[in-house]
Amino acid sequence: MPREPEPHAPESQDPDDQLIVSENLNGRYPWRDPAKQVPYGIVLLVAARLKWSPDAVLVRLGELGYADVQRPEGPLPDAVEPDDATLLQSAERRWGLKPVDVGTTVSLRQIVDSAARAERSPADVARRMTAYGYRVGTGARPLPETANPRDLGLIRVDRRGKWLGWGDEVSGHHVLGVAQELSCSPHLAAVRLIELGLRLPFTPEPADERLLKYADVPGGGWIGRWGSAPVAHILAVARDTGRPPADIVARLSELGCQRPGGNVPDTSEPDDLVLLSENLDGRTPWLMKNDVVGLQVRHILRAARITGRTPAQVAERLAALGHWLHENANLPETAEETDIRLLETVNRSYLDDVHLEDVLRSASLTGRSPADVAARLTALGYRLPDEVTYPEVLPGVRAA
């Protein structure tokens, strides 16, 4: 059975001609339809590939029957650098070959995407595109002269196809969000976004860096889009910088942060940072406010032993700082190490029932009898609803 002729196949067997009229510039089917306009970007890509002038490409296209060829508003460039071919490919390509459209202003996303692919600076890419007759709406300021692989991530509004455009207003919320996704400093992200011609509701300041970093963990520790600054972080920044806590809170709000996780006092007490640190050492990680179950009693007891306050005094100060204690909790008058050790084994909150299996687990981990554990947890305010007789048996000494 004879093969169907390929639509729009060229009569010329010249490899250059076949490349020119092939849709994917590979000299093979599918062939370009002469009834459709040839995009200007194709002219440039052919010129780059064959090392011809764009004018020569236009002439040959005409000779091959392609009369309708898109042109830029200005004159044609004399030549196209082969290395620039990458810049002429649309960032919106999903498959096949799609050149950048000269009929519309080149988008910020296109410039940034091309820069990333070519490992060149956005300014360099914009200059090259302008030289080829494209309109690049860079806004008022020049684009950055340094390449940065993160640029594409910075201008990503969401993961489903939306990007920031030239001169768009960007919220602090966006800055915090992208910085979190990219594991980079929100301050550096803000600076770079401005360099890319975007507008922010605040002027980034180097001091923001300290305000926005609340933990020292690999690649992060920055306050994120939905995170709120722990009170201790604000107090620590105030101590380190001499700025009033209220000033820090106001600046964090400008930067897009949520309200602080707790009450920020006008004046702090000497051991506030100790009370507000997870390890009671006055350093990160800071105590995060728990709005569901409240404070852990073991934290209060440990804090009492370290600061010399009574458990009630610790609870009172932490309450003033916004960390509340569940109403069921019975705070002992003194902080005993045995209670702390016991409470470290309890993973139930005051909202939960403590069952036999939880008591047995705590007994196992503390070396106390289940009966002793059950009695002490009851005294501390936990609910133990199981009607069982808790054994007096002690766990044995563990093998080495």
């Binding site: 594409l152 196809g161 990219l182 594991s183 963990v217 690999p218 299996e357 047995l360 054994p391 048996v393």
Partner: protein, 315 residues
Amino acid sequence: MSYVHHVERFYGLPAFNFPPYADPADLPPADAVAWRLDREPYENEESAEDCWKRFTESVDLAKVRAIIFGQPWYDGDGGLGTDDLVGLAPRLTGLEALFLGDLEDEQAMISTIYLGDLAPVLAAFPGLRELGLRGGDGLDFPVSGHDQLRVLRVESGGLPPDSVERIAAARLPSLERLELWLGDENYGGGVTVEQLAPLFAGEGKPALRHLGLQNSFIQDELAGAVASATVVPQLTSLSLSMGALSDEGAAALLEGQPLTHLQELDLSFHFMSQEMMLRLWTALEPAGVRVDLSVRHQPEPDDWDEDGFYIAASE
């Protein structure tokens, strides 16, 4: 409560998501973290190919100790697999730990995560000391050739019986910890006690100190086998957690060979009665065995399931 979460620590290192469009200046030292590679399948997400390229260009590969692969290297549709990883073996000279298939429930059902043939990975990294796997679909585990492996953990909602059989029969002379989530036969599982016979006999794994046979409906049968298994005296800890362990299995443990040499016996997530929990605890704890009986469940029989037992992770 789901038992399937992203790995937070691996090989003693904090897991660190290799960020999209990463700038090398922001990255931690190569040997300080377990590198997680994971990309969501969204239009604007950096592609897996670009992510991998950037990872290999920005991280000092010779110093990398642990890598965790998530989506799309592994997923319910087959995934990209580890060809790129295997190809890079000559540069990953310090790699000692791999976790394959670190996906959570909302990314893919655990039973659908395709693992495939592990032989090329194990052959490419003979110095691997820890291997974590999540999924099980298509899992092919070679019987020998990984003498350095210390830890093997397979998290599955339905581990193919022939895969379990091969792992049970595998010669792993350095293996100290083996954890197998056996899963549900409705989701690809269904291993039998007989298929685990080499494991119970202690064959091929002389260094084994921890054995976990978890997350199955046959926990009672497994407990029965453990009661007389030759391997048990060499263990320091044993886990029969996450499954349908009932009073029957617990009684078998109590009536079988002594377990008082164990340091830990993890039976958490179970269906035992309170009486049986107390019997077990009072029998073993005074001897120094730390018994974990937390997360007790009650059977929930209905028209479709007369027994009403369930396991921690299946779909």
